[in-house]
């Protein structure tokens, strides 16, 4: 089933990237933003910043990707066939040096899929891969389903059934078992398409040219270039090229080393985080990040982390926001990672030899630096490395178990063997002492450390709330507007809303309303917006709440669009979740609330149409889709969705008409063409 918006908090390389959930407002820009011309490329930086350039060039960012002839190829394009049940795919380096995947189907039909871009170089120690892109006729860059993993030295694919990764075997069908064949996932963040956002390259901006009816895929580079962090350099270069530049303080660029903790983290979280997309027009560095993305809304819509922040399925490093080093300390990414070389350093910026150097930790935790007093492991053993216990490499379970794809745990936890086991996480002790049972591990910890540090109170509340059905009690465990733990606050608030907030039938507890109102005045945009949504959806039948919301709405200032986007998208998320659970009246009410905030959000209209359809109200479903199409005609999926509703009511001519309309905007959409052909035979 088509819907107008795909999941927008798509993560890089995420196994699942094509389910309908949230929507975005506004229209896709029709041409590459002029601001894209403000980016000059890393070579321009090298002219003055040669040392930084050299460090970057050898870094994982500097080697993140590029044209096939400009990267270090680790995948085997050796002409050895990859045999599927219904096709043979042969990665081949041709005589002219070009890379192709030569596909031979059972019918004997043959065609080649050229490799136009390579991403990744197998750099990551916990499991590094290399992926390939093809320029599609519709102007997108499409991610190809054949990946290579370095450690196992194997080609692999992602399975449609559970989105895990698997080696290629003759039991697999290319056409029906793969998540991404024909290639659907695109580079950039275009609406309605499975995508890997804007992080596998620099300054990626995908726009739709309504005249030519094709996409423009713009990017500066498939490396992660200087301007990905530092922002556009044009003005900087102009200023620095003029005599007297030394007399101006504004050099067209900010010094990132002076940023405060959250600002500094924000630079890295542009990519190293799961994030909800708020707008469809392309984000470029220099834009206000919070206008385009939300870091905390994914906790409401997807639960990407365990209750204490560990990666549940597949994620990045924004769970650092669960760590004590962040919450009670000053830790940013660059306190350990040299941003240019990707090498390691201590909190004072002094270079360290490697990623397991304890001084990353002990330059702050000096009290733990005295021999083996704290670790209780031999000095030269892995057990005496801070990271072994506190940043263990955890397998991303969304990938499955065929390949090692583990990332060090940036929640920097204390090993809790039993608790970790309950979460389904391999605890740090287990990694070396897998032959010992949990009791043995717990006893060792107890002997060495006595009682271990309690959880943050809010996390403890979240854990307890899992077993508590009573909303009054749960309220106190989950709603903590005064806390200083945004991730846990979001998790608590989101959990409460999902459990207890329904249009017209929310828990009527004055304390809850008070806490929601406190959240609604929080300075954190995500928390504020989610609470506004909860009051709007659950309590706006009360006059005093309507007054409160009116006051808040007229007082959003420069954050108005950022908050309203979060507000509307979270209402859409809640509505869509209710629809999945068949609480359709609530779902429909929720989606209408979302449209009160963002009336032109065609994704929400699409979800509303879906809910109406599910409730049996095809008339409203069709009417809603017509409204959406009137709002944004050049959205092929709206037409395709409309066609499907017409199919359901057996109105074949109108279904054909809608498909034809949609194909005007997406002439290469394979599924639409197949359906159209079938309908025409009826």
């Amino acid at each position: 089933l088509w819907v107008a918006a795909s999941r927008n908090s798509v993560r890089k390389g995420e196994p699942d990237a094509s389910q309908p959930t949230s929507g975005v407002a506004g229209s896709l820009a029709t041409s590459v933003p002029a601001r894209a011309n403000d980016f000059m490329g890393s070579e321009a930086c090298a002219r003055c910043h040669d040392k930084e350039y050299a460090a970057w060039r050898g870094s994982t960012h500097g080697q993140a990707g590029g044209r096939p002839d400009g990267v270090k190829l680790i995948a085997r394009f050796d002409g050895q066939p990859l045999r599927f049940k219904d096709a043979v795919v042969t990665p081949t380096k041709k005589a002219d040096g070009n890379l192709v995947f030569a596909v031979e189907e059972l019918s004997g039909d043959r065609f080649e899929v050229p490799v136009d871009a390579v991403v990744g170089g197998g750099h990551m120690i916990g499991g590094g891969t290399q992926s390939f892109f093809n320029k599609f006729p519709d102007g997108t860059m499409r991610f190809l389903p054949f990946d290579f993993i370095r450690k196992e030295n194997q080609w692999f694919v992602q399975l449609a059934k559970d989105m895990t990764w698997a080696p290629i075997t003759q039991e697999l069908s290319l056409y029906s078992d793969l998540a991404n064949w024909p290639p659907r996932r695109v580079l950039g963040t275009p609406i309605g398409m499975s995508n890997c956002q804007n992080c596998h390259g620099s300054q990626i901006a995908v726009t739709y040219d309504e005249t030519r009816r094709r996409y423009n895929t713009h990017f500066q580079s498939l490396q992660i270039n200087c301007e990905s962090c530092h922002g556009p350099a044009r003005r900087h270069i102009e200023i620095m090229s003029k005599p007297g530049f030394e007399r101006v303080a504004d050099i067209g660029m900010e010094h990132l080393g002076t940023l405060a903790k959250d600002q500094s983290l924000g630079i890295c979280f542009q990519c190293h985080a799961t994030k909800t997309v708020l707008r469809e027009d392309p984000y470029l560095q220099g834009d206000r990040f919070e206008d385009f993305f939300s870091l905390l809304l994914p906790l409401f819509s997807e639960e990407p982390f365990t209750v204490d922040g560990r990666v549940r399925s597949f994620d990045y490093q924004s769970n650092h926001l669960f760590s004590d080093c962040y919450l009670n300390g000053s830790m940013t990414c660059v306190d350990c990672h040299d941003p240019h070389s990707q090498g390691y350093r201590d909190v004072f910026g002094r270079a360290l030899v490697g990623k397991f150097d304890n001084r990353q930790c002990t330059s702050c935790h000096a009290s733990k630096a005295s021999g083996t007093d704290h670790s209780h492991h031999k000095a030269d053993s892995p057990g005496n490395q801070c990271t072994s216990c506190h940043m263990p490499f955890l397998q991303h379970r969304g990938v499955g178990q065929h390949f090692t794809f583990a990332r060090s745990d940036h929640t920097i936890p204390i090993p809790r063997p039993t608790f970790d086991q309950q979460l389904g996480i391999e605890n740090a002790c287990q990694k070396c002492h897998g032959d010992k049972d949990l009791g043995w591990q717990e006893a060792a910890i107890r002997e060495w450390y006595g009682d271990i540090k309690p959880f943050n109170p809010l996390i403890a509340g979240l854990i307890r709330s899992l077993d508590v059905p009573d909303p009054d009690f749960t309220r106190d465990l989950l709603l903590a507007p005064e806390s200083n733990h945004p991730m846990a606050q979001m998790r608590g608030l989101g959990t409460f809303i999902r459990r207890f907030v329904r249009p017209g039938k929310s828990v009527s507890d004055p304390e809850v309303v008070k806490k929601l109102q406190a959240f609604a005045q929080h300075e954190h945009l995500d928390l504020k917006a989610l609470a506004l949504m909860a009051l709007h959806v659950g309590y706006s039948d009360r006059p005093e709440i309507r007054d409160f919301l009116d006051r808040q709405r007229t007082n959003l200032g420069t954050n108005e669009s950022a908050i309203k986007a979060r507000w509307a998208i979270s209402a859409d998320d809640l509505g869509s979740a209710l629809a999945i659970n068949n609480d359709l009246p609530s779902a429909i009410a929720c989606l209408h609330k979302s449209l009160e905030i963002q009336p032109a959000n065609v994704a929400t209209m699409s979800h509303l149409a879906l809910a109406y359809l599910k409730s049996g109200n095809t008339e409203e479903s069709i009417s809603t889709l017509h409204k959406a199409i009137a709002t944004r005609p050049a959205t092929p999926n709206l037409h395709f969705q409309l066609a499907q509703v017409y199919v359901q009511v057996a109105d074949v001519p109108r279904a054909i008409e809608a498909l034809e309309q949609g194909l005007q905007y997406a002439p290469h959409d394979e599924m639409a063409r197949v359906l159209l052909a079938k309908l025409r035979t009826l």
């Binding site: 530049f245 030394e246 007399r247 101006v248 303080a249 504004d250 050099i251 010094h255 080393g257 002076t258 405060a260 903790k261 009670n328 300390g329 000053s330 830790m331 201590d346 909190v347 004072f348 910026g349 002094r350 330059s363 702050c364 935790h365 000096a366 009290s367 733990k368 005295s370 107890r446 002997e447 060495w448 450390y449 006595g450 009682d451 271990i452 540090k453 309690p454």
Partner: protein, 558 residues
Amino acid sequence: MFEKVRIGTAALLLSAPANYSAELTPSQQFVAEAACVNCHTTLPQKSTLRERTPDLSSAGLRYNAAWLFEFLQNPAKIRRHLGRARMPNFHLNEGEALALVEFLGTQKQTTGNWPELPTPIQQLPATAPRSASAAEFESVLARGHICLTCHTMGGKGGAIGVELSNVGFRLQRDWVRQYLVAPAMYGVPHTTMPAQFYVVTNEHFEPLVPDPADRIGIIAGHLFSLNVEKRRALEDHFNRARQSATNITADLGRALFVGLNCAACHRNALTPQATDAAPDLTQEASRVKRTWLERYLRKPVPIRPAGFQPGSGSRMPDFRLSDAEIGEVVAVLAFEPPKRDGQQGVISAFAQHKARTLLADKLSCLGCHRFGEKGGRIGPDLTTARDRLQPDYLLQMIQNPRGANPHAIMPRVPMTPQLLHLITDFLLRHDQSPSASSYLSFVDHPLGVDMADAPQDARYSYLRQCTPCHGSNGDGNGFNARYLPRKPTVHADNDYMSRRPDDTLFDGIYSGAGILSKSPYMPPWGETLSREEITAMVHHLRELCRCDGPAWSRDGKR
């Protein structure tokens, strides 16, 4: 004749105040005379000044408090036998001067053991005050008293004694009478001021001359009949100041007396001489710029507003040096022709902005140092470092403070070479105008921690290094706290501290509070103090809060 011989001996001694080695150069001679070594104790030019300045053990008997109050704020030349030494101006405010006066008022000791004063002298207060005319006064002097051989009076007299016409408002009448009976009772050797009226024989005062008490009464009566209006004016001013200042105590004055190192130049009954009241000048030429030093000696401005040792109140006073005298000091400190000028070249406006932001938001420097209007008042104002310090010294001081200056309390802050050079270049070349600087009032910042007898343990370390911000009792209210954007941790706060693990306290001390997301202005001490010293400091914090860290943080111990 007998009397004349004694007086002649005194005159001979007084005329040779600079009894120093003939091998000294004229410049060294000046530095020795001026007694710079009394505070800058590492200078080789030793001084005998302390033997000739007033002994303050009896200041409470001796001085008119109202005059002392005025004099301490505006010192002027009184004594003429000090060579080129002089009482400098310490820039005391009224409260500070008052505190010193209160303290000195308690100093009522005489020197040595003396018989009971002659009965006529004891009776004088009952019959006095009496006035005596100039004629009476002169007739007494004409009876063989050669006061004006040394002293001056109304433009007449000797060249080495104090002006006698000021006595009436400077001193106390009773003291003058007793002093004339036995000058040595107040620490003045007879070779300096001979006894002319009495001599001690068989543990009794015996008259040296006929009617000694009358003569003394006439001399005192005449001297105290002079400048009556001035005395009254001084007393009015003093009384007003005293009435308006209710928080001034002798104890405060004592602490300031110690802090200012008054004992360096004045004998007194109570306090030892400080050895760490001023910088070591032996390497001064490699530390500071000559142009700055000349300007500074001409008009000293506060460098460490709370004292050379934080909170001590010590300060470089104004000696009212002439250009020639400044030249002598500079010559002794061995300044060479200027080397490369640190202010040459430019630092870009952006680099300035960057450094300024790092100083304000990331580094610990402004916890102690001022820059512009921001920052603490413990160390020297960094805004003026470019004019004051030699570039190489500044760099070394940032890089390794106690290597560059063993007396510094400044800790070494780990940093990359790039950051070191950025901050050094910025401090040498920034374009910020210095703000007016003034000493912190000792009355408002009564730290007055007397560390002289403190054992060199964690408490001492805390008093020396932590107290300026955290307060001597850990109340977070040290004198520097008001200049910090965030209140320092209250180490005496049992509730808060009992939630902080020992390891966290250790880490904060070791790596600075910035790592704990607290104030970056609390510097890292890990490269200055040993691990054992930091552990001892954590124990001291536990004594201040009378608490332990959370049970879970103790690794099952205790």
